[in-house]
Amino acid sequence: MSDASPILRGRVAAVLGANIDTDLVYPGRYLNITDREKTAEHLFELAWPEIRSRLRPGDFIVAGPNFGCGSSREQAAAALKYAGCGAVIAASFARIFYRNAINLGLPAVVSPSAAAQCGEGNELEIDLSAGEIHNLSRNITIAAAPLDPRAI
C-alpha cells in the first residue's frame, strides 16, 4: 500500500500478444542477478530488446491474455518495474506473475479489450480504483477491473 495517486498517466510502449511468458520478459540465463535494479537491463532482451530502449518512465506495456505465464521468476516483474514501466495492462495475468507484480508494487491491470483498443505511442490515463482506462489519443474509454485498494 502506498500514498501514490491511483491515477496513472503514460504512453503505450508496446502492444503484445497472448501468452507472453516470463522467459520472454526476462531470460533464464540472467536469473543469477539478484539485485532488482540490475534486472531492468535484460527486459525483453531475447525477442524485443527495442522495447527496453524506447520505454520511458511511466510508460505502459499492453498485452493479450495470460501475461507472465511460465516460470515463477520474480525478476520478470522486477525488470518491468525498474525499467520504468508504469503498469502492465493485459486481458489476463498468469497467477504467479500477478502476485509478484503486486508484491513489488508494479500495477497489473486486467482489461480484456485493451490490446485491441490501444496502439503503440497512445497516451493513456488509468484510474486504478475505478477500473477505467482513458485512451487520450483515441478519445475512448476502455473497461478494466478495478484494483483492490489493498494492492494500490
Binding site: N19, G28, L31, T34, L46, N66, S72, E74, N103
Partner: protein, 412 residues
C-alpha cells in the same frame, strides 16, 4: 459440506471447517522450498529485518539450476546462501552433489506428506500434488514473508477434475497424456484452478508418472494438481467446475508433441512431418526419473545416437543417477553416444550444459519450449516423452519409437 481436495487442505490449514472457491484464506505453510533463488528470498528477508526464520525445520533449500556453478557470479550467490543457511540453522540444505533437481530431492527424501501446504519459489512446485499436498509456486518476496511468518494468503481455487480410463497405446505415456490435455485446455486453461486427476489409468500409474501429470499441469496455469493418495481425498459429493473424461486408447493413440513455441501447441506425432534434430535432451523435473532413463536405455541399447545429433541425459537427482548407474542404464546410454550431465536442471532453463545455437532444433523431455528457453531466440524446442526423445536421438529426426525398435540398429 463436501469439499474438493484443495478446499479440504486449505480449510484445515486456515483453521476453518469449510472453504469455498474465491474465498481468501490465510493458511499455515508446512514446507517452504527454494533453489538458487533463495538468494533473492534472503535479500527480501533481510529487508524485512526479522532476525530469524519462523521455523528452520520447515525450510528446504536445494541448489539445482546452476550446479556446479557455471560462473563466478553464480558461485558468489551460492556462497551467500550457504552462509545464510548455516547462520539460520536450516538443516535441510542440499548443496551441489548432495541432491539434484529440487522437486525430485523433496520426493527422494520424503519431505512432502499428504495434506501438507507446500510453497516453493519454483513454478513446478505443483509436482508435489502427486503426494497429496497442496503445493504451489510463489515469488521470492512472498517467500520472504513465509520465512518470517510461516503463513500465506491464498484464494481458494475452483477445481477441474480429469478422469482417465483405459490402457496406454504402445510407447504412449503420462507425458503424452498431459501434453494432450494441455493442448485441449490451452496454456491458461487451468489458470488459478486446482486439477484433480483420477480414474483407473491414473491409479495404475507409477509415482514417477503421477509426478509428470502434476508437474506439467503448471503449463496450463494450474495453481495445484493432485493424483490420488490413500491418506486424503476429495469428498464424494465435492463440486467441480468441470469434469473431463479421457479414454487413453481412443483419445491418445500415439505420442504427442508440443511444437515451438508454446506448450499448448500440441500435435500427434504423425501430424508433424519431417523434423530433423540437432540435440535431444532427456531430463528435468518433468522426465528425468528412473523409468525415463530405463525406457531410453531400452531404446538405445545396441543402437547409437545419430551422427548429426547430440543426446544429453541428466538424471533428476544423485539418487536416481546412482540407481541408473547400478542398473546399467547410464553405461548403455554412454555406449550409445550420450553425454551424461550431473543431476540438476541442465539446459532446461537456458543457462548451461547444452545451449542451442540459432537455427538448431531440439527434441526434449523437459517442460517448456518458449522462444529462447534453451538458448538462441532462433532455436526450436519440441517437447516429447522420454521414449520419443531417445528414438529421435537414434534417428536424427522426431520419430515414433516403434519405427526405431523395428530396425536392428543405427540410423533409421
Amino acid at each position: 459440506m463436501s469439499m474438493t481436495l484443495a478446499e479440504k487442505i486449505l480449510a484445515r490449514a486456515s483453521g476453518r471447517s469449510r472453504v469455498a472457491p474465491d474465498e481468501i484464506v490465510v493458511a499455515d505453510v508446512d514446507l517452504a522450498m527454494s533453489h538458487e533463488n533463495a538468494d533473492l528470498v534472503r535479500k527480501a528477508f533481510l529487508e524485512i529485518g526479522a532476525p530469524r526464520v519462523w521455523d528452520p525445520e520447515k525450510i528446504v533449500i536445494i541448489f539445482d539450476h546452476r550446479i556446479p556453478a557455471e560462473s563466478e557470479k553464480t558461485a558468489a550467490t551460492h556462497k551467500a546462501v550457504r552462509e545464510f543457511v548455516r547462520q539460520q540453522g536450516i538443516r535441510h540444505f542440499y548443496d551441489a552433489g548432495r541432491g539434484g533437481i529440487c522437486h525430485q530431492v523433496l520426493a527422494d527424501n520424503g519431505h512432502v506428506k499428504p495434506g501438507m501446504v507446500v510453497v516453493g519459489t519454483d513454478s513446478h512446485t505443483t509436482t508435489h500434488g502427486a503426494f497429496g499436498a497442496f503445493a504451489t509456486g510463489i515469488g521470492a518476496t512472498e517467500m520472504a514473508g513465509v520465512w518470517v511468518e510461516g503463513r500465506l494468503w491464498f484464494k481458494v481455487p475452483s477445481t477441474i477434475r480429469i478422469e482417465a480410463e483405459g490402457e496406454f497405446a504402445p510407447w504412449v505415456s503420462a507425458k503424452d497424456l498431459i501434453l494432450w490435455i494441455i493442448g485441449k485446455l490451452g496454456a491458461a486453461g487451468a489458470d488459478y484452478r486446482a486439477v484433480e486427476f483420477d480414474g483407473s489409468a491414473v491409479r495404475r500409474m507409477s509415482v514417477a508418472s503421477r509426478m509428470v501429470l502434476c508437474n506439467l499441469s503448471m503449463e496450463m496455469g494450474a495453481k495445484v494438481a493432485f493424483t490420488p493418495v490413500a491418506e486424503i481425498g476429495p469428498d464424494p459429493e465435492a463440486e467441480y467446475e468441470r469434469t473431463l473424461h479421457i479414454h487413453l486408447g481412443y483419445d491418445i493413440p500415439e505420442p504427442q508433441i508440443a511444437c515451438p513455441h508454446s506448450v499448448d501447441n500440441v500435435k500427434p506425432l504423425s501430424a508433424l512431418g519431417e523434423v530433423k534434430v540437432h540435440q535431444a535432451v532427456l531430463g528435468s523435473c518433468t522426465n528425468g526419473r528412473l523409468e525415463d532413463l530405463e525406457i531410453a536405455a531400452r531404446i538405445l541399447s545396441g543402437r547409437s545416437v545419430h551422427p548429426d545429433t547430440r543426446l544429453i541425459v541428466i538424471p533428476a537427482s544423485q539418487r536416481i543417477c546412482l540407481e541408473a548407474m547400478r542398473l546399467g542404464y547410464l553405461g548403455t546410454l554412454i555406449e550409445a553416444g550420450a553425454i551424461v550431465n550431473p543431476p540438476g536442471c541442465g539446459p532446461c532453463v537456458g543457462v548451461h550444459q547444452g545451449i542451442l545455437a540459432a537455427g538448431e532444433v531440439c527434441v526434449s523431455s523437459t517442460n517448456r519450449n518458449f522462444i529462447g528457453r534453451m538458448g538462441s531466440k532462433d532455436s526450436f524446442v519440441y517437447l516429447a516423452s522420454p521414449a520419443v526423445v531417445a528414438a529421435s536421438a537414434v534417428a536424427g529426426r522426431i520419430i515414433h519409437p516403434e519405427a526405431v525398435m523395428a530396425k536392428e540398429n543405427a540410423h533409421v
